[in-house]
Protein backbone atom coordinates (compact mmCIF):
# COMPACT_ATOMS: atom_id res chain seq x y z
CA UNK A 1 0.00 0.00 0.00
CA UNK A 2 1.64 3.24 -1.13
CA UNK A 3 0.25 6.13 0.88
CA UNK A 4 1.17 9.69 -0.13
CA UNK A 5 3.74 11.44 2.04
CA UNK A 6 2.71 14.53 3.99
CA UNK A 7 4.90 17.59 4.40
CA UNK A 8 5.84 17.48 8.06
CA UNK A 9 7.25 20.78 9.30
CA UNK A 10 6.25 23.88 11.20
CA UNK A 11 4.83 26.98 9.49
CA UNK A 12 3.45 25.41 6.31
CA UNK A 13 2.83 27.67 3.32
CA UNK A 14 -0.65 27.77 1.73
CA UNK A 15 0.59 25.59 -1.12
CA UNK A 16 1.97 23.01 1.33
CA UNK A 17 -1.28 22.98 3.29
CA UNK A 18 -3.19 22.41 0.07
CA UNK A 19 -0.80 19.59 -0.83
CA UNK A 20 -1.30 17.99 2.61
CA UNK A 21 -5.10 18.33 2.26
CA UNK A 22 -5.10 16.39 -1.03
CA UNK A 23 -2.56 13.92 0.34
CA UNK A 24 -4.96 13.21 3.24
CA UNK A 25 -7.94 12.75 0.91
CA UNK A 26 -5.91 10.43 -1.36
CA UNK A 27 -4.46 8.57 1.64
CA UNK A 28 -7.89 8.04 3.20
CA UNK A 29 -9.26 6.74 -0.09
CA UNK A 30 -6.41 4.22 -0.52
CA UNK A 31 -6.68 3.23 3.16
CA UNK A 32 -10.44 2.78 2.84
CA UNK A 33 -10.04 0.58 -0.24
CA UNK A 34 -7.44 -1.56 1.54
CA UNK A 35 -9.78 -2.02 4.55
CA UNK A 36 -12.66 -3.11 2.31
CA UNK A 37 -10.34 -5.52 0.47
CA UNK A 38 -8.83 -7.09 3.58
CA UNK A 39 -11.97 -7.22 5.74
CA UNK A 40 -13.22 -10.38 4.03
CA UNK A 41 -9.90 -12.21 3.68
CA UNK A 42 -9.22 -14.86 6.35
CA UNK A 43 -8.11 -14.88 9.11
CA UNK A 44 -11.01 -12.71 10.25
CA UNK A 45 -9.41 -12.00 13.65
CA UNK A 46 -12.76 -12.37 15.44
CA UNK A 47 -11.25 -12.46 18.99
CA UNK A 48 -9.41 -9.20 18.29
CA UNK A 49 -12.61 -7.56 16.97
CA UNK A 50 -14.52 -8.70 20.08
CA UNK A 51 -11.74 -7.35 22.31
CA UNK A 52 -11.86 -3.93 20.64
CA UNK A 53 -15.67 -3.80 20.74
CA UNK A 54 -15.57 -4.57 24.42
CA UNK A 55 -12.86 -1.99 25.17
CA UNK A 56 -14.33 0.77 23.00
CA UNK A 57 -17.85 0.19 24.31
CA UNK A 58 -16.74 0.28 27.94
CA UNK A 59 -14.57 3.37 27.35
CA UNK A 60 -17.41 5.36 25.84
CA UNK A 61 -20.25 4.01 28.00
CA UNK A 62 -20.08 6.53 30.92
CA UNK A 63 -19.79 9.65 28.76
CA UNK A 64 -22.59 8.69 26.36
CA UNK A 65 -24.82 7.72 29.29
CA UNK A 66 -24.61 11.20 30.80
CA UNK A 67 -24.87 12.91 27.42
CA UNK A 68 -27.85 10.84 26.34
CA UNK A 69 -29.88 11.67 29.42
CA UNK A 70 -28.94 15.37 29.29
CA UNK A 71 -29.84 15.69 25.56
CA UNK A 72 -33.39 14.51 26.25
CA UNK A 73 -33.74 16.66 29.34
CA UNK A 74 -32.44 19.84 27.69
CA UNK A 75 -34.31 19.47 24.40
CA UNK A 76 -37.63 19.18 26.27
CA UNK A 77 -36.77 22.02 28.69
CA UNK A 78 -35.80 24.31 25.78
CA UNK A 79 -38.76 23.41 23.55
CA UNK A 80 -41.50 23.44 26.18
CA UNK A 81 -42.01 27.26 26.41
CA UNK A 82 -42.23 27.48 22.59
CA UNK A 83 -44.76 24.65 22.32
CA UNK A 84 -46.82 26.14 25.19
CA UNK A 85 -46.77 29.59 23.55
CA UNK A 86 -48.25 28.13 20.33
CA UNK A 87 -50.71 25.96 22.25
CA UNK A 88 -49.07 22.77 21.00
CA UNK A 89 -47.77 21.29 24.24
CA UNK A 90 -49.53 17.98 23.43
CA UNK A 91 -47.09 17.55 20.53
CA UNK A 92 -43.99 18.05 22.72
CA UNK A 93 -43.26 14.37 23.60
CA UNK A 94 -43.62 13.25 19.97
CA UNK A 95 -41.70 16.18 18.47
CA UNK A 96 -38.81 15.91 20.93
CA UNK A 97 -38.66 12.13 20.42
CA UNK A 98 -38.52 12.63 16.65
CA UNK A 99 -35.60 15.06 16.83
CA UNK A 100 -33.78 12.76 19.25
CA UNK A 101 -34.26 9.64 17.14
CA UNK A 102 -33.71 11.16 13.69
CA UNK A 103 -30.80 13.48 14.35
CA UNK A 104 -29.60 14.37 17.84
CA UNK A 105 -28.81 10.92 19.24
CA UNK A 106 -26.98 9.55 16.15
CA UNK A 107 -24.92 12.68 15.50
CA UNK A 108 -24.06 13.61 19.08
CA UNK A 109 -23.17 10.01 19.96
CA UNK A 110 -20.97 9.83 16.86
CA UNK A 111 -19.21 13.09 17.74
CA UNK A 112 -18.56 11.95 21.31
CA UNK A 113 -17.42 8.58 20.01
CA UNK A 114 -15.07 10.35 17.58
CA UNK A 115 -13.62 12.45 20.40
CA UNK A 116 -13.09 9.49 22.67
CA UNK A 117 -12.23 6.67 20.27
CA UNK A 118 -10.72 8.26 17.16
CA UNK A 119 -8.10 10.05 19.26
CA UNK A 120 -7.45 6.87 21.25
CA UNK A 121 -6.90 4.78 18.11
CA UNK A 122 -4.74 7.56 16.59
CA UNK A 123 -2.55 7.72 19.70
CA UNK A 124 -2.32 3.95 20.13
CA UNK A 125 -1.38 3.16 16.52
CA UNK A 126 0.78 6.30 16.31
CA UNK A 127 2.81 5.20 19.29
CA UNK A 128 3.10 1.69 17.82
CA UNK A 129 4.33 3.23 14.56
CA UNK A 130 7.01 5.47 16.12
CA UNK A 131 8.28 2.69 18.42
CA UNK A 132 8.58 0.35 15.40
CA UNK A 133 6.01 -2.13 16.78
CA UNK A 134 4.15 -2.06 13.44
CA UNK A 135 7.41 -2.74 11.58
CA UNK A 136 8.13 -5.55 14.06
CA UNK A 137 4.82 -7.19 13.13
CA UNK A 138 5.54 -6.78 9.44
CA UNK A 139 8.99 -8.41 9.63
CA UNK A 140 7.46 -11.26 11.66
CA UNK A 141 5.30 -12.10 8.61
CA UNK A 142 2.18 -10.83 10.40
CA UNK A 143 -0.15 -8.50 8.51
CA UNK A 144 -0.25 -5.42 10.80
CA UNK A 145 -2.89 -3.70 8.68
CA UNK A 146 -5.32 -6.56 9.12
CA UNK A 147 -4.52 -7.14 12.78
CA UNK A 148 -4.44 -3.50 13.91
CA UNK A 149 -6.52 -1.47 11.46
CA UNK A 150 -9.22 -3.71 9.98
CA UNK A 151 -10.18 -5.14 13.38
CA UNK A 152 -10.53 -1.67 14.91
CA UNK A 153 -12.59 -0.33 12.00
CA UNK A 154 -14.97 -3.32 12.16
CA UNK A 155 -15.27 -2.86 15.95
CA UNK A 156 -16.10 0.86 15.71
CA UNK A 157 -18.60 0.16 12.90
CA UNK A 158 -20.39 -2.45 15.01
CA UNK A 159 -20.32 -0.71 18.39
CA UNK A 160 -21.58 2.78 17.47
CA UNK A 161 -25.11 1.67 16.43
CA UNK A 162 -25.43 -0.20 19.74
CA UNK A 163 -24.35 2.89 21.67
CA UNK A 164 -26.76 5.05 19.64
CA UNK A 165 -29.76 2.84 20.46
CA UNK A 166 -28.75 3.04 24.12
CA UNK A 167 -28.45 6.85 23.90
CA UNK A 168 -31.90 7.09 22.24
CA UNK A 169 -33.50 5.28 25.19
CA UNK A 170 -31.63 7.41 27.72
CA UNK A 171 -32.52 10.64 25.91
CA UNK A 172 -36.18 9.64 25.79
CA UNK A 173 -35.89 8.93 29.53
CA UNK A 174 -34.39 12.40 30.04
CA UNK A 175 -37.29 13.95 28.10
CA UNK A 176 -39.82 12.05 30.21
CA UNK A 177 -38.03 13.19 33.38
CA UNK A 178 -38.25 16.86 32.28
CA UNK A 179 -41.97 16.53 31.42
CA UNK A 180 -42.72 14.78 34.70
CA UNK A 181 -41.09 17.62 36.62
CA UNK A 182 -42.80 20.41 34.69
CA UNK A 183 -46.20 18.88 33.82
CA UNK A 184 -46.43 15.81 36.03
CA UNK A 185 -46.86 13.70 32.86
CA UNK A 186 -47.50 10.00 33.41
CA UNK A 187 -45.38 7.33 31.73
CA UNK A 188 -48.20 5.66 29.74
CA UNK A 189 -49.15 8.94 28.06
CA UNK A 190 -45.52 9.77 27.23
CA UNK A 191 -44.82 6.26 25.92
CA UNK A 192 -47.91 6.29 23.66
CA UNK A 193 -47.06 9.75 22.29
CA UNK A 194 -43.49 8.69 21.50
CA UNK A 195 -44.47 5.35 19.92
CA UNK A 196 -47.13 7.01 17.76
CA UNK A 197 -44.80 9.71 16.49
CA UNK A 198 -41.82 7.49 15.58
CA UNK A 199 -42.25 5.50 12.40
CA UNK A 200 -40.13 2.72 10.90
CA UNK A 201 -38.85 5.23 8.35
CA UNK A 202 -37.46 7.34 11.19
CA UNK A 203 -35.54 4.54 12.84
CA UNK A 204 -33.96 2.88 9.78
CA UNK A 205 -32.01 5.88 8.38
CA UNK A 206 -31.10 7.01 11.87
CA UNK A 207 -29.53 3.71 12.91
CA UNK A 208 -28.13 2.96 9.45
CA UNK A 209 -26.10 6.14 9.33
CA UNK A 210 -24.41 5.28 12.63
CA UNK A 211 -22.74 2.32 10.89
CA UNK A 212 -21.23 4.85 8.47
CA UNK A 213 -20.21 7.18 11.32
CA UNK A 214 -18.63 4.29 13.24
CA UNK A 215 -16.69 3.30 10.13
CA UNK A 216 -15.45 6.89 9.71
CA UNK A 217 -14.28 7.07 13.34
CA UNK A 218 -12.27 3.85 12.93
CA UNK A 219 -10.98 4.76 9.47
CA UNK A 220 -9.74 8.26 10.34
CA UNK A 221 -8.26 7.28 13.74
CA UNK A 222 -6.43 4.31 12.22
CA UNK A 223 -5.20 6.28 9.20
CA UNK A 224 -3.80 9.12 11.30
CA UNK A 225 -2.12 6.71 13.71
CA UNK A 226 -0.78 4.39 10.99
CA UNK A 227 1.00 7.19 9.11
CA UNK A 228 2.27 8.99 12.26
CA UNK A 229 5.91 10.01 12.34
CA UNK A 230 8.14 12.41 14.21
CA UNK A 231 8.21 10.79 17.67
CA UNK A 232 5.92 11.79 20.52
CA UNK A 233 4.99 15.04 18.79
CA UNK A 234 3.77 13.02 15.82
CA UNK A 235 1.67 10.81 18.10
CA UNK A 236 0.01 13.85 19.70
CA UNK A 237 -0.66 15.32 16.29
CA UNK A 238 -2.16 12.05 15.04
CA UNK A 239 -4.46 11.94 18.04
CA UNK A 240 -5.78 15.51 17.76
CA UNK A 241 -6.08 15.66 13.98
CA UNK A 242 -7.96 12.34 14.05
CA UNK A 243 -10.71 13.89 16.20
CA UNK A 244 -10.98 17.05 14.11
CA UNK A 245 -11.03 15.21 10.79
CA UNK A 246 -13.42 12.47 11.94
CA UNK A 247 -15.88 15.04 13.40
CA UNK A 248 -15.75 17.12 10.24
CA UNK A 249 -16.35 14.15 7.95
CA UNK A 250 -19.21 12.91 10.18
CA UNK A 251 -20.98 16.31 9.92
CA UNK A 252 -20.45 16.52 6.15
CA UNK A 253 -21.61 12.94 5.52
CA UNK A 254 -24.61 13.53 7.80
CA UNK A 255 -25.80 16.36 5.56
CA UNK A 256 -25.69 14.06 2.55
CA UNK A 257 -27.31 11.14 4.38
CA UNK A 258 -30.15 13.30 5.73
CA UNK A 259 -30.95 14.44 2.19
CA UNK A 260 -30.87 10.86 0.89
CA UNK A 261 -32.98 9.49 3.76
CA UNK A 262 -35.60 12.23 3.25
CA UNK A 263 -35.82 11.25 -0.40
CA UNK A 264 -36.31 7.57 0.47
CA UNK A 265 -38.46 8.02 3.60
CA UNK A 266 -40.19 11.44 3.37
CA UNK A 267 -41.59 12.74 6.67
Amino acid sequence: MNLPNHINKKDLTFRERLYNFFATITGLTIFNWEILKQAFIPPLEIPEIKKHMNELGIKTFPIVSVTGFVIGLVIVMQSEPVFVRFGASDFLPGASALSIVRELAPVITALIFAGRVSSGIGAELGSMRVTEQIDAMEVSAINPFKYLVVTRVIATTMILPILTVYVIFLALGGGFFALTLSQGMNFEYYKNAVVESIKFGDLIPSISKTFVFGYIVGLVGSYKGYIADGGTEGVGKASTTAVVLASLIILLIDTVLVKISLMIWPM
Binding site: S127, M128, S140, A141, I142
Partner: protein, 249 residues
Protein backbone atom coordinates in the same frame (compact mmCIF):
# COMPACT_ATOMS: atom_id res chain seq x y z
CA UNK B 1 24.67 -19.80 -11.28
CA UNK B 2 24.35 -18.28 -7.82
CA UNK B 3 26.77 -19.29 -5.08
CA UNK B 4 24.69 -21.29 -2.57
CA UNK B 5 26.92 -20.15 0.27
CA UNK B 6 25.95 -16.52 -0.35
CA UNK B 7 22.68 -16.42 1.57
CA UNK B 8 22.24 -12.63 1.14
CA UNK B 9 23.28 -10.70 -1.96
CA UNK B 10 22.89 -6.97 -2.45
CA UNK B 11 23.60 -5.64 -5.94
CA UNK B 12 23.97 -1.92 -6.74
CA UNK B 13 21.47 -0.83 -4.09
CA UNK B 14 20.57 2.87 -4.01
CA UNK B 15 18.10 4.68 -1.78
CA UNK B 16 17.42 8.37 -1.38
CA UNK B 17 15.05 10.39 0.82
CA UNK B 18 14.16 13.62 -0.96
CA UNK B 19 17.45 15.15 -2.10
CA UNK B 20 19.59 13.15 0.31
CA UNK B 21 21.27 10.06 -1.15
CA UNK B 22 21.45 7.61 1.75
CA UNK B 23 22.71 4.50 -0.03
CA UNK B 24 24.69 4.91 -3.24
CA UNK B 25 25.18 1.84 -5.42
CA UNK B 26 26.02 -0.58 -2.62
CA UNK B 27 26.89 -4.22 -3.31
CA UNK B 28 27.65 -6.85 -0.70
CA UNK B 29 27.37 -10.58 -0.02
CA UNK B 30 26.86 -12.43 3.23
CA UNK B 31 27.84 -16.06 3.49
CA UNK B 32 25.88 -18.71 5.34
CA UNK B 33 26.73 -18.69 9.05
CA UNK B 34 28.64 -15.41 8.80
CA UNK B 35 28.31 -12.47 11.21
CA UNK B 36 28.64 -9.28 9.20
CA UNK B 37 28.90 -6.03 11.15
CA UNK B 38 27.92 -2.75 9.48
CA UNK B 39 29.64 0.33 10.91
CA UNK B 40 29.21 3.97 10.14
CA UNK B 41 28.49 7.32 11.70
CA UNK B 42 24.89 8.29 12.53
CA UNK B 43 22.75 8.96 9.47
CA UNK B 44 24.96 7.04 7.04
CA UNK B 45 22.19 4.62 6.10
CA UNK B 46 23.06 1.54 8.18
CA UNK B 47 19.48 0.97 9.39
CA UNK B 48 18.12 1.89 5.94
CA UNK B 49 20.31 -0.87 4.46
CA UNK B 50 18.82 -3.42 6.89
CA UNK B 51 15.27 -2.21 6.25
CA UNK B 52 15.78 -2.45 2.47
CA UNK B 53 17.11 -6.01 2.82
CA UNK B 54 14.13 -7.15 4.90
CA UNK B 55 11.65 -5.34 2.62
CA UNK B 56 10.47 -2.63 5.02
CA UNK B 57 11.79 0.01 2.60
CA UNK B 58 11.73 -0.20 -1.18
CA UNK B 59 15.08 0.55 -2.82
CA UNK B 60 15.15 3.15 -5.60
CA UNK B 61 17.36 0.87 -7.66
CA UNK B 62 19.37 -2.31 -7.30
CA UNK B 63 18.58 -5.88 -6.38
CA UNK B 64 18.47 -7.72 -3.07
CA UNK B 65 18.48 -11.51 -2.89
CA UNK B 66 17.76 -13.58 0.20
CA UNK B 67 18.39 -17.26 -0.58
CA UNK B 68 18.15 -16.38 -4.28
CA UNK B 69 14.72 -14.76 -3.94
CA UNK B 70 14.73 -11.16 -5.12
CA UNK B 71 13.13 -9.32 -2.19
CA UNK B 72 12.16 -6.09 -3.97
CA UNK B 73 10.05 -7.88 -6.59
CA UNK B 74 8.18 -10.25 -4.26
CA UNK B 75 4.47 -9.95 -3.50
CA UNK B 76 3.46 -9.49 0.17
CA UNK B 77 2.65 -13.20 0.42
CA UNK B 78 5.99 -14.25 -1.06
CA UNK B 79 7.83 -11.71 1.08
CA UNK B 80 6.15 -13.15 4.18
CA UNK B 81 7.37 -16.62 3.24
CA UNK B 82 10.93 -15.18 3.23
CA UNK B 83 10.29 -13.43 6.54
CA UNK B 84 9.38 -16.74 8.14
CA UNK B 85 13.06 -17.73 8.15
CA UNK B 86 14.45 -14.29 8.96
CA UNK B 87 14.15 -12.16 12.08
CA UNK B 88 14.87 -8.60 13.11
CA UNK B 89 15.90 -7.13 16.46
CA UNK B 90 14.92 -3.46 16.52
CA UNK B 91 16.94 -0.74 18.21
CA UNK B 92 14.29 -0.16 20.89
CA UNK B 93 13.32 -3.88 20.92
CA UNK B 94 9.81 -2.89 19.65
CA UNK B 95 8.00 -5.15 22.12
CA UNK B 96 4.21 -5.02 21.74
CA UNK B 97 3.38 -2.90 24.77
CA UNK B 98 -0.22 -4.11 25.14
CA UNK B 99 0.99 -7.71 25.62
CA UNK B 100 2.93 -9.46 28.38
CA UNK B 101 6.32 -11.00 27.63
CA UNK B 102 4.64 -14.42 27.24
CA UNK B 103 2.08 -12.98 24.78
CA UNK B 104 4.82 -11.16 22.85
CA UNK B 105 6.64 -14.44 22.26
CA UNK B 106 3.50 -16.47 21.67
CA UNK B 107 2.14 -13.98 19.12
CA UNK B 108 5.17 -14.32 16.83
CA UNK B 109 5.44 -18.07 17.36
CA UNK B 110 1.85 -19.19 16.86
CA UNK B 111 1.34 -17.05 13.77
CA UNK B 112 4.42 -18.44 12.03
CA UNK B 113 4.75 -22.01 13.21
CA UNK B 114 2.10 -24.70 13.52
CA UNK B 115 2.45 -25.59 17.16
CA UNK B 116 0.11 -26.71 19.93
CA UNK B 117 -0.55 -24.43 22.87
CA UNK B 118 1.30 -26.78 25.21
CA UNK B 119 4.39 -26.98 23.00
CA UNK B 120 4.30 -23.21 22.47
CA UNK B 121 4.37 -22.66 26.25
CA UNK B 122 7.36 -25.04 26.60
CA UNK B 123 9.19 -23.28 23.79
CA UNK B 124 8.53 -19.84 25.32
CA UNK B 125 10.03 -20.98 28.64
CA UNK B 126 13.02 -22.60 26.86
CA UNK B 127 13.69 -19.43 24.84
CA UNK B 128 13.41 -17.21 27.89
CA UNK B 129 15.89 -19.50 29.66
CA UNK B 130 18.34 -18.86 26.81
CA UNK B 131 18.21 -15.12 27.56
CA UNK B 132 18.07 -15.75 31.35
CA UNK B 133 14.73 -14.02 31.85
CA UNK B 134 12.18 -16.74 32.64
CA UNK B 135 11.07 -14.77 35.70
CA UNK B 136 9.85 -11.95 33.43
CA UNK B 137 7.36 -14.19 31.61
CA UNK B 138 4.19 -12.47 32.88
CA UNK B 139 5.55 -8.93 33.05
CA UNK B 140 4.42 -6.08 30.80
CA UNK B 141 7.16 -4.47 28.64
CA UNK B 142 6.71 -1.14 30.46
CA UNK B 143 8.03 -2.80 33.64
CA UNK B 144 11.27 -3.99 32.00
CA UNK B 145 14.63 -2.18 32.01
CA UNK B 146 16.39 -1.30 28.72
CA UNK B 147 18.67 -4.35 28.90
CA UNK B 148 15.79 -6.67 29.75
CA UNK B 149 13.78 -5.30 26.82
CA UNK B 150 16.68 -6.07 24.47
CA UNK B 151 16.92 -9.62 25.83
CA UNK B 152 13.17 -10.19 25.47
CA UNK B 153 13.33 -8.66 21.98
CA UNK B 154 16.09 -11.12 21.19
CA UNK B 155 14.05 -14.00 22.62
CA UNK B 156 11.07 -12.98 20.48
CA UNK B 157 13.30 -12.82 17.41
CA UNK B 158 14.83 -16.28 17.85
CA UNK B 159 11.72 -18.15 18.99
CA UNK B 160 10.82 -19.00 15.40
CA UNK B 161 14.32 -20.50 14.81
CA UNK B 162 15.30 -18.07 12.05
CA UNK B 163 18.15 -18.83 9.67
CA UNK B 164 19.00 -15.15 9.23
CA UNK B 165 19.02 -12.45 11.92
CA UNK B 166 19.19 -8.70 11.48
CA UNK B 167 20.25 -6.64 14.49
CA UNK B 168 19.71 -2.87 14.49
CA UNK B 169 21.99 -1.37 17.15
CA UNK B 170 21.57 -4.25 19.64
CA UNK B 171 23.64 -2.58 22.37
CA UNK B 172 22.69 1.10 22.00
CA UNK B 173 21.59 2.75 25.23
CA UNK B 174 22.94 -0.02 27.45
CA UNK B 175 25.62 0.25 30.13
CA UNK B 176 28.98 -1.40 29.23
CA UNK B 177 28.26 -4.55 31.26
CA UNK B 178 24.79 -5.13 29.76
CA UNK B 179 26.22 -4.30 26.35
CA UNK B 180 28.93 -6.97 26.74
CA UNK B 181 26.35 -9.48 28.00
CA UNK B 182 24.07 -8.86 25.00
CA UNK B 183 27.03 -9.15 22.58
CA UNK B 184 28.11 -12.45 24.15
CA UNK B 185 24.53 -13.66 24.07
CA UNK B 186 24.28 -12.88 20.35
CA UNK B 187 27.49 -14.79 19.70
CA UNK B 188 26.32 -17.71 21.84
CA UNK B 189 22.97 -17.87 20.03
CA UNK B 190 24.66 -17.64 16.67
CA UNK B 191 26.84 -20.63 17.57
CA UNK B 192 23.93 -22.61 19.03
CA UNK B 193 21.42 -21.89 16.27
CA UNK B 194 23.93 -21.55 13.40
CA UNK B 195 22.36 -18.34 12.16
CA UNK B 196 23.62 -15.86 9.60
CA UNK B 197 23.56 -12.31 10.97
CA UNK B 198 23.90 -8.71 9.84
CA UNK B 199 24.55 -6.44 12.80
CA UNK B 200 24.32 -2.66 12.54
CA UNK B 201 26.21 -1.00 15.36
CA UNK B 202 28.39 1.87 16.55
CA UNK B 203 29.73 -0.27 19.35
CA UNK B 204 33.26 -1.46 18.59
CA UNK B 205 33.33 -3.70 21.64
CA UNK B 206 30.19 -5.45 20.41
CA UNK B 207 31.71 -5.78 16.92
CA UNK B 208 34.94 -7.10 18.40
CA UNK B 209 33.05 -9.90 20.15
CA UNK B 210 30.67 -10.97 17.40
CA UNK B 211 31.98 -10.00 13.97
CA UNK B 212 33.46 -12.29 11.34
CA UNK B 213 33.70 -9.44 8.83
CA UNK B 214 33.01 -5.70 8.99
CA UNK B 215 31.99 -3.08 6.49
CA UNK B 216 32.10 0.65 7.05
CA UNK B 217 29.53 2.92 5.38
CA UNK B 218 30.50 6.47 4.49
CA UNK B 219 28.65 8.89 2.21
CA UNK B 220 26.27 6.11 1.20
CA UNK B 221 29.04 3.78 0.01
CA UNK B 222 31.04 0.92 1.50
CA UNK B 223 34.23 2.82 2.25
CA UNK B 224 36.17 0.09 4.05
CA UNK B 225 35.83 -3.58 4.83
CA UNK B 226 37.80 -6.26 6.63
CA UNK B 227 38.44 -7.79 10.03
CA UNK B 228 37.99 -5.54 13.06
CA UNK B 229 41.76 -5.48 13.79
CA UNK B 230 42.50 -4.43 10.21
CA UNK B 231 40.07 -1.52 10.44
CA UNK B 232 41.26 -0.54 13.92
CA UNK B 233 44.92 -0.57 12.85
CA UNK B 234 44.31 1.22 9.54
CA UNK B 235 46.35 4.33 8.83
CA UNK B 236 43.37 5.97 7.11
CA UNK B 237 42.69 9.32 8.80
CA UNK B 238 38.91 8.89 8.94
CA UNK B 239 39.09 5.36 10.36
CA UNK B 240 41.78 6.39 12.84
CA UNK B 241 39.56 9.19 14.04
CA UNK B 242 36.51 6.89 14.31
CA UNK B 243 38.37 4.15 16.16
CA UNK B 244 40.24 6.53 18.46
CA UNK B 245 36.97 7.23 20.27
CA UNK B 246 36.74 3.52 21.18
CA UNK B 247 39.39 1.19 22.54
CA UNK B 248 39.38 -2.17 20.84
CA UNK B 249 41.16 -4.88 22.77
Amino acid sequence: MADVNKIIRVENLSKRFGDKIVLDNISLDVEKGENLVVFGRSGTGKSVLLKCIIGLLKPDSGKIFIKDKEVSTLSTKELNSVRKFTSFLFQGAALYDSMTVRENLKFSLQRNVEISNEDAEKKIVRTLEMVSLVEAIDIMPSELSGGMKKRIGLARSIITDPEIMFYDEPTTGLDPISSKEISELILELQKQLKMTSIIVTHDLHCANIISDRNIFLRDGKIAYQGKIEELANSQDKFLKNFFSTNIVE
